[in-house]
Symmetry: C2
């Protein structure tokens, strides 16, 4: 297992800068007042394909040598990683094969196809996915880019924290959502060298709190079919992300789905940005644990902005 280094992150930033956005940092006097902290929101939802995952995906895609690039990349994902990898592959002009459950939302499939990704549908089970993916990879020779358990991906995600530090003039804490742990790991990677005094805090849905329980237990615990409105955070930690979580994360806080939806509405209303339920978990945990954040300069990573506007979580409720 190769652990990516600070230098890998610097090289990643150099490599991907022409292909990603240096996303803005937004603030709200109202949300500062409400939380008693000074909040800085890093808007990764403003990446062209709408998620921070374009950083890691671009680092993998643009780091391939020409021979491998000709065969392209491959992954299995039904979320932002699939569309961001397709987007990066489109920018480089190489093939991208994605295995997706046939039950994935049509909008997700449409986005992957819009970016030129080739979808192979599988049944919504682990065995079907693995079988389909092995076949696709054998046929295409595409380089497997895992959504988070990949050192190139983690080095790429770490570039977000580098920009965040440059844009904010010092933060006491950075809070990011945790699912598989790719963004949190990249954040730990960067801050442990660049700003070791800045704490990294993970925010997780109560109804998918495997990282929280792993953190307490001291080893990886995977959830059995978690279910939460924060559908970007359903996947478990893997060895590479567990390395960073267990060594560098200061705390993991959780919030209920109702609290996540409330926080999401607050951000839509007062920052006036469109973001996913998953990206609202940091604010939800801050509102729930105000004492831990009071008076601090707190960075929040708004991880993504791909939502179905016709099915917002507060509709019909």
């Amino acid at each position: 297992m190769y652990i990516p280094t600070y230098e890998d992150m610097l090289a990643a930033h150099e490599r991907i800068q022409p292909h990603i956005r240096r996303t803005p940092v937004r603030t709200s006097a109202y949300l500062n007042e409400l939380t008693g902290a000074e909040l800085f929101f890093k808007c990764e939802n403003f990446q062209e394909p709408g998620a921070f995952k374009v950083r890691g995906a671009s680092n993998a895609v643009f780091g391939l040598d020409e021979a491998q690039a000709a065969k392209g990349v491959a992954t299995h994902s039904s979320g932002n990683h699939a569309s961001c990898l397709s987007y990066a592959a489109m920018l480089r002009g190489i093939p991208c094969n994605v295995v997706m459950p046939r039950t994935a939302p049509q909008a997700k499939k449409d986005t992957v196809r819009r970016y030129g990704g080739r979808i192979t549908e599988c049944e919504p089970s682990t065995s079907s996915r693995e079988e389909s993916f092995a076949k696709v990879q054998a046929e295409t020779g595409g380089d497997f880019v895992h959504p988070y358990n990949d050192h190139r991906v983690i080095a790429g995600q770490g570039t977000c924290a580098k920009e965040f530090v440059e844009q904010t003039d010092g933060l006491d804490m950075v809070v990011a959502p945790i699912g598989g742990g790719g963004m949190i790991s990249g954040t730990c990677l960067t801050l442990s060298t660049l700003a070791p005094e800045t704490q990294v805090i993970a925010a997780e849905p109560e109804q998918a709190d495997d990282a929280y329980r792993s953190f307490k237990a001291g080893y990886i615990i995977a959830d059995d079919a978690p279910k939460t409105i924060a559908d970007g955070l359903l996947v478990p930690l893997k060895e590479l992300t567990w390395h960073f979580v267990s060594n560098h994360v200061s705390a993991i806080y959780t919030a209920s789905d109702a609290e996540i939806i409330d926080a999401m509405k607050l951000i839509w209303k007062h920052l006036r940005i469109v973001m996913e339920p998953s990206s609202a978990v940091p604010l939800a945990t801050i509102l729930k644990n105000k004492d831990a954040f009071a008076g601090k300069r707190v960075g929040l990573i708004v991880t993504g902005g791909n939502v179905d506007l016709d099915k917002l979580p507060w509709m019909n409720s």
Copy 2:
């Protein structure tokens, strides 16, 4: 009638800069592809109170001498002007009195009160509003800040176009929504000196197309009770805004409510920002008149971001 000058606009920018945000300009590769133009969106929805109107309001408020400031300001409005004037008055620490119809949405009243504005309710008729306002003004001595027919307000709104030019390195056209014409007038004021080669184009709802008809007729025509989803654009032109519209605007385009809602969803989805129906009219008119914009560098002013998230125009439809 005093016509504000370019120097008034420069003085306004100097005066209000500490109190407003230099809002960012956003782009979307997808929307460029869709329209065939290069679009730049100036995000005035990102002002703290959520609308460009904080510019004109701040210019009026911070330009008062101490004696008048002690008596504060007053206006009648049920929209963004009321909350932005309250916000600016709060920043200076002076009273703000607002006459609002008792039928105005509770959320609008709450916002004005959150910023310390004092609301006097009137019946939803012109006579009741005028009577109530005269009374409030007589009692408080508050300086009347009209939502748009005021040279200080127009000079303030013009600061948006100044930033836009500085941020974009040249635009062929700027498209802004037109209601009373405050933003359009400020844009004309600034661009006619700073970038006279840049056309100013107004975008208006078909169902409240009084500016379009006035523009064609050559004199002000007021609508009889217009009704459109773009509820920030219901008010008619007045002499001061008509001066700028009739002298400097290159064209007025209109769009239907259905087209406005479609454009609003496109912006929410691809720029991932929360903005009002009124602010979607420019994109709606561009999509409807693609030939007029093809290949051009087009600036769009996203005028405001205050919407009721529980009553989005595409809900229950």
